[in-house]
Amino acid sequence: MKKREQFLWLVGIVGFIAGLYGMYDRLTTGHINVSYGSYIPWGLWIGAYIYLVGISAGAFLISALVYAFGIKKLEKIGKLALFTAVVSLGIAMLSVLIDLGRPERVWRVMDATNFGSMMGWMFWLYTTYFILLLVELWLALRADLVAWIARPGFVGSLAKFLTFGQTDVSANTLARDKKFLRVLGTVGVPLAIAFHGGVGALFGVVGARAYWNTGLTPIMFLVGALTSGGALLTFVTFVFGPNHGSREHQDTVLFLGRIALGLLLLDILLEWAEYSIGLYSAIPADVASMKLVLFGQFAWVFWGVHIGLGVVVPILLMLWKGKSAAWVAFAGLLIAITFFTVRLNIVIPGLAVPEMQGLGEAFTGPGLTFDYLPTLTEWLVQIWAVSAGLLAFLVGYRVLPIVREQSGAGAAAE
């Protein structure tokens, strides 16, 4: 096992165990030891949800470069991108499920959908997308699963089971697989744009919150998805990509890094548009949320974490160490992780400005406040969900032919 992989296992296991306490608290006491409530109804978990859904959409769209647009350079990481998209979607859904007041009723969204609500749409778009992802991943893995049947033990049996009897790997069926992959990848592109643009629209349509209510919101969600997804994939490819250390592996990482850098610059441009137009507006109430982001109590999150660690440092790294796969991957990791603060800075400041003067003082109580700082329970639950996803990814990497090494026995046996 590679050192980096070992480290990720350690992170996953520690996070999973520590996070269990948060899950225990959430499941036994409900929404009591949390900071969100009546006036700031959405917090860390919703921020994590839109962040991870974005990562999923971004990773998927990069896989589409392979399957829909046939970009040869990324061919070897298509499955890795798809698998990243599946896992991050899973964590995102878990985060939003935990956040619901009555999670056991989530099926009602299917049963009694209000298509006038963006959230009603989201349910169907996610379901469709999830099915498409699974089918596409299966098609992409099928040939390798057949090859893996010969392996001894669990991995072999699992591979055999997962082929569902479709063990024909003649040139004809492979060509058929490829055709289906192309169709699914192509259909997936508008679907991914629809569902992640839809998440943006979910916020964008809320007229009561001037900070969210702009036509740029869905577009920023999409570009942010591509940026964070692409950046994370740069790192994932560096750690898990095939033939580590080879020329081809390095080239793939550097190529992805350049894509991520370009997307980051585009994202900054949109952010500039959003903030400069917003701040020039002469209606103080409309600018309140932006001022909170830029100059409020948590301004360090925007300037230090987002602009500093998430924009300036990665750009400098990519300029100065642009030929080193390791540094570019590190820059990608920085962009991907710090992008979480961009999502939090959408959700919370939009809610932290009282809609009516004096509301926070009129009647007090838990949840009747405009201050929000996630509680230990909220952090632990989120750490648990992400760790569970990380472990699922690592297990998948071991037992499925997500990555096929060119020489030798393959990834899992390395």
């Binding site: 409900g30 009694a112 009516m356």
Partner: protein
């Protein structure tokens, strides 16, 4: 020139609507009896709040909490306070803020499961048995009138009374009394609705059906809260909301609130 108390009273009486000889509560009670005889879709419930009479006692807020057995973190009708002017010309303004029961409610359309809906009588209701607790309506309301029931109890986590184990939290039985919102009995248990739901003022719809005014109107010591059927031309509220000094909150955004303020 300073205004004496006597002059103030004269001012209010002179400005008061027709039929001031009787207590407005008596008048509104009669209005209500007439209204509930009509079919539901012909009632047009409206609330009027006379800000000149509101003394900021918050009795309405408390009456509402008691009537609807509201847990910590849930409030339907806070009274906003504002200080105006500079010394020595200072005053305070009190603005009770129930749900506006908007004609065009932004909270209804965002609900993914149609749990929040507008009733034929104009009241914006939440179906507790359908609500999934996503809190999208909370973000969409321009008046912050939707709140989230996180399942708290007032005495949970406090040291117990001598009858319970020492140091164990003690939730008193009165906290578990059933609320009767929407005409149903909602016993308060940890896992049952309305815990985990969006909750909001619904003009005490369960009281209206029983011929009683909303708890806030009944309890208002300054007689500043008026309630009734605006489609009944003889009702007190119908006359009040036709006065020139009437306004509504955030009128410019077009939600058409059914809560009016007399200023």
């Amino acid at each position: 020139m300073p205004v004496t108390t006597q002059e103030q009273i004269q001012f209010i009486v002179a400005d008061a609507p027709v039929g001031t000889s009787e207590d407005p509560l008596v008048r509104m009670q009669e209005d209500l009896r007439r209204a509930i005889k009509k079919p539901e879709n012909q009632r047009h419930w409206v609330m009027a709040l006379d800000l000149r009479k509101c003394v900021g006692c918050s009795a309405c807020t408390i009456a509402c909490v008691v009537e609807n057995k509201l847990p910590p973190g849930v409030v339907y009708r806070p009274v906003l306070e504002e200080e105006l002017g500079t010394y020595p010309n200072v005053t305070r303004r009190f603005v009770p803020r129930p749900c506006m029961q908007c004609e065009n409610p932004p909270c209804v359309n965002v609900c993914p499961v149609n749990a929040t809906f507008k009733r034929p009588d104009g009241i914006v209701a939440v179906n507790y048995n359908d609500c999934i607790g996503c809190r999208y309506c909370l973000t969409a309301c321009p008046y912050s009138a939707c709140t989230f029931d996180s399942g708290r109890f007032y005495l949970e986590g406090t040291p117990g009374t001598p009858t319970s184990l020492v140091g164990r939290p003690k939730v008193e039985s009165y906290e578990k009394l059933a609320a009767y919102e929407y005409g149903q009995s909602w016993e308060r248990k940890h896992d049952d609705s309305p815990v985990g739901n969006a909750r909001k003022c619904q003009f005490c719809s369960h009281r209206l059906n029983a011929g009683m005014l909303p708890a806030c109107a009944t309890t208002c010591i300054g007689r500043a809260t008026y309630f009734g059927d605006a489609s009944d031309h003889d009702s007190l509220v119908a006359q009040l909301i036709a006065l020139p000094n009437v306004m509504r909150l955030k009128e410019e955004i077009g939600t058409e609130p059914k809560v009016y303020y007399l200023v």
